[in-house]
Point group: C2
Chain length 406, copies 2
């Protein structure tokens, strides 16, 4: 068990690394800046900034960019973290869908690979395929500095395993740490998919701010919470599992052991089951995949079919119940709803907002923005890339020889 | 809206203050230590430690304690933060109960005052009484350096108001910031009661560790979460409102606007209502206060009355549902259940653990401790004191003249 001792020592274990990271993050978020601007913003002395940035420039992390205009029209030299000089690989594991993308540090997509659909029987084969494809990318692109992976949660980060994967428990047998950590020439970082999505919005969307929840409603229902610029993980990395928070303690049984889990009411498998049972709105739903069935429903609702619209609104109500819980539990400034179910669009979002207006504390209703993600579901692989970018910014000594810096 | 810019700048705004605070916290948690031990633990240079501690000694925050034994039997001078030299006042506002206590920094109770019971009509009078009594304490005890207040949540910290107080909305009209912030010779800090309870366990109980949830089940139901040594507040301070998280979206209506709020099933007013409806287990329940009725029930269960035991178990089940949600949402290492309902003791706790074993993810069941608070309900005023102690440790420049330190 963690003691207060280790809490305090790890927090400030390496002030040098923290200073380096703060400088990289400042340049990442603010663009070209002078040493004086950085020193002022970070509360560091000019001497410290000069010393640390000299090492970072020497190590190849930063570069000088010539004169920029400073205070009182004095010219000063700008520093830059060029986001196009470093690439990362993002691997997104959905249950049946694995995608591999290459991105630059700013989140620009440089290439995307869709793997063949995965079933419980082909997980081993898929893992081998990922090794092969990622190695190929690394051989071809020397700018790649890290690999991020996004996996369905709850992901036990210390163990390397996913604890529950409703409907596809085969993934539980994969140990992501032993399988991937030392498999490539660059470091690998694994994160829960909804947290990866939160990081993607935090890093790649300038509007997001530092108090943000990414509410993933897709094949599973997940949540990533960024509080004052930091991901909320919990003691063993299993926090913010909104999909397994019960909305009805006497409700539907879930694979996790709980009853009435939110995931059982508004994930794509839950919607698919509803469509099969209904039999009318999407008559051939039984023959479709979860995603296909949901997209067929959303298309019909989009065309104005009243029954389809009513079903979308009913889904929106459940997404809204989850949203009320997110607000009462985590109080973010912004809730971004993403993944497949977000494709239902405005009619769903309207119902979420109505449910929130009815049920959340008025002060929270007024101070919380609820919107749909700008990233489409396929692009959620950007979250995996954001996991790698986060580590690059937070742990520069893993990527550069900064020995001697302070 | 907070931008990423302000997130980064405030985090490292004052490295000097952070260093001072880290030194105070280290000494607070570890007792007498040498400069070398502190430097090593905090990753600071010996020169920096010498400079900062010199200022803190000069300002009266720390003192040297003579030789202690160091590495390789070398003697070195010890530094100490003497917890008995500084006192704090804690004011706890429950709905009908206000208590004022004086504590030292280590949480030792030096004096306790119970105010007359409060009703919606006497809130103004109570506020005046608090001013008078606190000023009297300040006059008598020059060691008092700060006042902490614990109020029922959700408390809107930027505004100074409580957003919802089920059953006693009069408290909503009190603005704690304008009422108290500049009212006394020492600074005042206000915190949500369950968070104050979490701080009390974190600071005053060595066993607690840094990943801790304090689950207050009393006149209201609240939660304080400490994650890696930091309180989780949310964007406007309204996070961790477990009492208003729904356990049944079609359930009982709550004052907050939501349905099925946990608070409606296991708070003392909910238990009281159950007892009045039942009419047999505690026949004169209708004439009692919420707390009295609950204590009568617990006493009867303690004496082996089967119906009383069944009711306590039923309450325990609801407390357990909340506990499962706490684990899935916040993943603490330890959940400490406190306040009036915790007085139900072992039969209640057993039912909570059974519910958790049934419904939580096995990995979480194995890695989470659930126990009853060592602090009894009256002593929860210690939480208010812990709010003041936390500020004393985190913001030393508010309490000492440390100008010139770095």
């Amino acid at each position: 068990m963690e003691t207060t001792a280790s809490v305090h020592t790890t927090t400030v274990a390496s002030l040098s690394e923290a200073n380096r990271s703060n400088i990289l993050q400042y340049l990442y978020h603010h663009g070209i800046s002078s040493r004086a601007q950085i020193a002022k913003a970070l509360g560091l002395t000019p001497a410290a900034i000069t010393k640390i940035t000299a090492r970072l420039i020497e190590a190849g992390a930063l570069e000088e960019t010539g004169d920029i205009e400073g205070r009182k029209n004095r010219r000063s030299i700008g520093l830059s973290l060029d986001a196009t000089r470093f690439h990362v690989v993002g691997v997104k594991f959905a249950r049946s869908l694995v995608q591999i993308g290459v991105f630059d540090l700013a989140g620009a997509l440089l290439g995307l690979d869709n793997l063949p659909p995965v079933t419980d029987g082909t997980i081993g084969e898929t893992i081998r395929d990922i090794h092969r494809r990622v190695n190929l990318l690394l051989d071809r692109d020397p700018r790649i500095v890290a690999i991020g992976m996004a996996v369905p949660g709850p992901y036990l980060r210390e163990v390397g395993r996913i604890a529950v994967v409703s409907g596809m428990q085969g993934w539980r047998k994969v140990n992501f740490i032993t399988e991937f950590t030392h498999a490539f020439r660059v470091p690998v970082f694994v994160e829960h998919d909804a947290r990866a999505g939160a990081l993607a919005h935090y890093l790649f969307d300038r509007e997001s701010g530092g108090d943000l929840a990414y509410y993933l409603v897709g094949e599973g229902v997940g949540l990533g919470v960024i509080d004052h610029g930091r991901l909320f993980n919990g003691a063993i990395g299993a926090a913010t599992e909104i999909g397994h928070v019960s909305i009805d303690v006497d409700g539907r049984l879930c694979d996790c052991g709980n009853r009435g889990c939110l995931e059982r009411y508004c994930s794509t498998p839950a919607i698919h089951a509803m469509l099969v049972e209904d039999g009318q709105v999407v008559p051939d739903a039984a023959a479709m995949s979860h995603t296909q069935a949901c997209r067929a429903l959303f298309a019909k609702a989009h065309d104005g079919d009243e029954r389809a619209l009513a079903m979308v609104r009913s889904v929106g109500r459940y997404v809204g119940y989850g949203c009320v819980t997110i607000m009462n539990a985590f109080n973010p400034r912004r809730v971004v709803i993403g993944d497949i179910v977000a494709e239902a669009g405005e009619p769903m979002l309207r119902e979420v907002r109505r449910t929130v207006a009815d049920r959340a504390i008025p002060e929270l209703v007024d101070s919380t923005e609820i919107l749909l993600s700008g990233l489409d579901a396929d692009a959620a692989v950007a979250g995996a890339a954001a996991v790698a970018v986060t580590q690059f910014l937070e742990r520069p000594s893993l990527f550069f020889d900064v020995s001697g810096a302070s």
